[in-house]
Symmetry: C2
Subunit: 562 residues, 2 copies
């Protein structure tokens, strides 16, 4: 634990008034170097979700106990991952998207910010009224809200410093994920592809809230002619609605983009770049430096928004600056994060049945009868529109070389249909039904939690779950993986073997990823609890058992050794 040196750094930074430029960037990198901290959604710019702490480990995790609970004061899906800076956790909530500063040691509130998010913003949330967390930089916390507003608060007091309206929520645009702070900028995407939003990434001056640049993710471009053969790109989706990664050396910020809109492909011939893609932008000017499309002309709702984990891997004897993604479409991708070049990939979801594999450039080799259209009904394509894995994030442990990820074992029937764009109305154009995957049934094997080897592209171990995997992963230097499930069970697993070493019943569904931090010489594990999100609250077969078994909720629990 290097709490001492870290404190010195922060205090010095504040006192010396280091330039905003230096702080925005360097402060977060420095914080992430301190094992006690969890300064970003994925802990570090690389989104590893790896904590270097090892006080809690495979030998003693059986003694893990609740240290404190903090109520979140709202119900509905609590997808929020706290960040931890010094002795404070910052945690957001489901609608109205409040944010609280919580004493990391005692669980007590330091301040609370109750958002004035209008009630009607809730109707534009495609997938529950969630918020996934906040970002920190230069003494400020930043978070986006369901009403498309980005807010900057004083981290010490919770006082609002500025707000910016990023998008018009009445058109179906919402913000559900934390922004990213880079240099003097706070950068955010937004959601809304199901309402015909056109995706963009937008940068603000972190000190003033002034908009600096706005880069649309979809539309015609010189380097990808024919990608949009109509003007469907104007309502073309590709929203960058989840969390970004950043490579300070390459000075590239990475986003996965959502599905093109509408689902009905007939109106949008072409590959529809950069929807369902991974893109790298220069944060200084917003220029897209490279793009890599995972599902050209997506017809299945396979967003490529899933988190992008940046690690250096040794593949076939060569060290590569990798970017990894477990994509909704069922494939695991390893790209060169400097160039966007495809290095390798294979399915991580064993029952993927829509493509034969990936070609040398990483483009899927489609099986034509698995592609739905206005005229083609597909009875059983895997994975389901929620993906082999949805946004709940994976974690990478450098000690095992494995990634740990929640996943779904569900398939679907699907056929497109005509739909007309109307501002603020759903713009989907598809009739689809989710079905249990192979070997699954109602409340049985609908999810899996997996360890995956990104070098050898192999599943190492699997834990079956009754419901889809909606709780993200944490891995630690203690040789552990932590995750929760929609039934409300929170587990510690041996990172090497997949053996469950500890369980705690948390009383509501877990649809957020845990974190780990240390304060006062003690390591803690913390996780938000509260059933909700895209799967759990869905009416019908998929979700119908869950609300009978599990209550809504909203609280943050911190665990430590007794």
């Amino acid at each position: 634990m290097r709490g001492g040196s870290w404190k010195t750094f922060v205090v010095a930074g504040l006192l010396l008034g280091l330039s905003a430029w230096a702080l925005g960037n360097e402060e977060l990198i420095k914080l992430a170097q301190n094992p006690s901290e969890w300064p970003l959604y994925g802990r570090d710019y690389a989104n590893t979700r790896y904590s270097p702490l090892d006080q809690i480990n495979t030998a003693n995790v059986g003694r893990l106990k609740v240290a404190w609970i903090q109520s979140l004061g709202t119900l509905r899906g609590q997808e929020s991952v706290p960040i931890k800076i010094g002795d404070t956790l910052y945690v957001t909530t489901s609608w109205p998207n409040n944010i609280y500063a919580v004493d990391a040691r005692t669980g007590r509130l330091k301040w609370k910010y109750v958002s004035d998010t209008p009630a009607d913003a809730q109707q534009y949330a495609c997938c529950d009224v969630v918020n996934r967390g906040a970002a920190y930089g230069n003494g400020k916390v930043f978070f986006g809200r369901l009403d498309g507003v980005l807010v900057a608060l004083d981290a010490q007091t919770g006082r609002e410093l500025w707000r910016a309206t990023v998008v018009d929520y009445k058109a179906g645009y919402t913000i559900t994920s934390p922004p990213i702070v880079i240099k003097d900028k706070v950068i955010t995407g937004y959601a809304g592809a199901e309402f015909g939003a056109r995706g963009a990434v937008v940068a603000y001056d972190m000190n003033t809230g002034r908009e600096l640049w706005r880069t649309f993710t979809v539309g015609p471009g010189p380097e990808y002619d024919n990608s949009w053969q109509t003007d469907a790109w104007k309502t073309g989706g590709g929203t960058a609605w989840y969390v970004a990664s950043y490579d300070p050396e390459a000075n590239l910020v990475y986003y996965g983009t959502g599905n093109p809109a509408p689902w009905n492909t007939a109106v949008r011939p072409g590959d529809n770049k950069w929807s369902a893609s991974i893109i790298a932008l220069n944060p200084d000017d917003g220029r897209i430096v490279w793009g890599f499309q995972t599902t050209p002309q997506d017809a299945w709702d396979w967003d490529a928004e899933n988190e992008l984990v940046l690690v250096d891997l040794v593949i076939k004897g060569r060290k590569v600056p990798a970017l990894m993604q477990a994509n909704k479409n069922g494939f695991f991708y390893v790209l060169d994060r400097k160039t966007g070049k495809f290095i390798q990939g294979d399915k991580y979801y064993p029952h993927l049945n829509w493509a034969k594999g990936l070609d040398a450039n990483g483009r899927p080799i489609e099986i034509p009868e698995m592609r739905p259209s206005l005229t083609q009904y597909v009875d059983y394509v895997c994975p389901v529109f929620w993906g082999g894995k949805n946004w709940p994030p994976m974690a990478y442990n450098p000690k095992t070389g494995l990634v740990y990820m929640p996943g779904n074992n569900m398939c679907m029937s699907i056929q497109h249909r005509e739909v007309t764009y109307t501002k603020g109305a759903l713009y989907i154009g598809s009739k689809h039904e989710h079905k249990p995957g192979p070997g699954a049934g109602p409340a049985k094997n609908l999810g899996q939690f997996r360890a995956f080897d990104p070098v050898n592209l192999k599943i190492v171990w699997t834990i079956d779950e009754r419901y889809p995997g909606w709780g993200g992963a944490l891995t630690t230097a203690g040789g552990l993986v932590f995750y929760g499930n929609e039934e409300g069970e929170f587990k510690a697993v041996d990172a090497r073997t997949g053996k469950i070493l500890w369980r705690f019943y948390a009383g509501s569904g877990i649809v957020a990823a845990p974190i780990s931090y240390a304060v006062g010489g003690k390591q803690y594990i913390a996780v938000s609890v509260g059933l909700g999100g895209e799967y759990a609250l869905l009416p019908g077969e998929a979700g119908k058992n869950l609300p009978n078994e599990v209550n809504l909720g909203g609280y943050l629990i911190a665990f430590t050794l007794d």
Copy 2:
């Protein structure tokens, strides 16, 4: 732990089909004799809130840890005390007043019953949309709802067996407290004095829901002529809104009754019996056998509803069948529960300043200038209208001979004013303002938790609390007292010394009383958590700090030794 013998009893009872008469009564007494159980709101008919379990004790309570959490799926004041029968907890919630069967060992839901309580019932809750718990009898669970409906459910499945509309909620009548099962009857009161309700106790056939008798608490009666000198009794309050006690030997059921309505005394000359009184009824026919009025012609909102604890005490060398109450008016009463005769009493709230004491019959010796009226403004009368202690229940420990109670240190200014009765509208007729008690201030010493000697009428120890005491007490054979506060702190205290031995931060205000039970050879402590109730949500000075410091919440936490 006599779990074995208890199980035999229940199974035998179910198999042999013992008559409902026998079960209603004898089953609960038998259950209460099993230390592992918590079959009634106050554990036993006597409302002692004493658990004979001692696995958790003064020596090891420091090792107490969270065993599990169950979300209650609602926010607002969670005043619910679970009952525990066999391996199941039954816990109710704030509006819409759901009830859940929870596995006492794992915390998992066995079934949930989501109430169809209409939303507009919420506007008739004088003091937050709470529910304080359920009653058990003969394989059924019973609970009342904010909409005046009493529901009977199958304890195994949660299936609704019958419902009865006890009162019309649109007139301002609500049910917030558990009924009591005696013989073949389930008996309930209701709330509503602030809306001009006329109080009653009502009995139903526990198997069919048929109404058997209804005894009004206020109105003219031969034995108390002149008590109501106008017809104000028709909207005269005196509601029996809290929990009953029962003496099987005397066959008397005891209720405390609420304040008379309106607060303005001008319209109701006389003592206004049996408002602000303790009454004993024969549960077979509902006849009032005796009454004892604590605040004749109450002018301060000093309901006498507080729990009535039935124990045999030795006072001045004589064993007396006592009934004890710490009344809102600041006095502690010891009555003969067979006859209603006053034995002794004195103030338990040290700053009581409205009376010189109690006379030989237990009638307060009032200080005339402390009585508000239309023409008399009283600037600082203590206790406040919330009482020296409100409904949050005290506990009696036979090993120490002490009662343990939360309390308030608040006073008020008050003057009456004219008010006209309108169905469904507030009917109060008073202008009053709460003020910190002596030595208190905003968020400072507004509450105390006390041990009180009911024989010698002396405070034994006191723990100061920043906010009023809204969490009830539990005491155990392990020499412990447990209670929570509105800040969200849950404490274990040495019953003899008042020393705090253990604390847990629960993340939302605690306004319910804990229980203790055993299952699988392990002792548990359980408490509902969720800020709310009469004080916490009040706008203005009283509550204003609380919502800034503490979030709303809703969960049941069970603790056990690690």
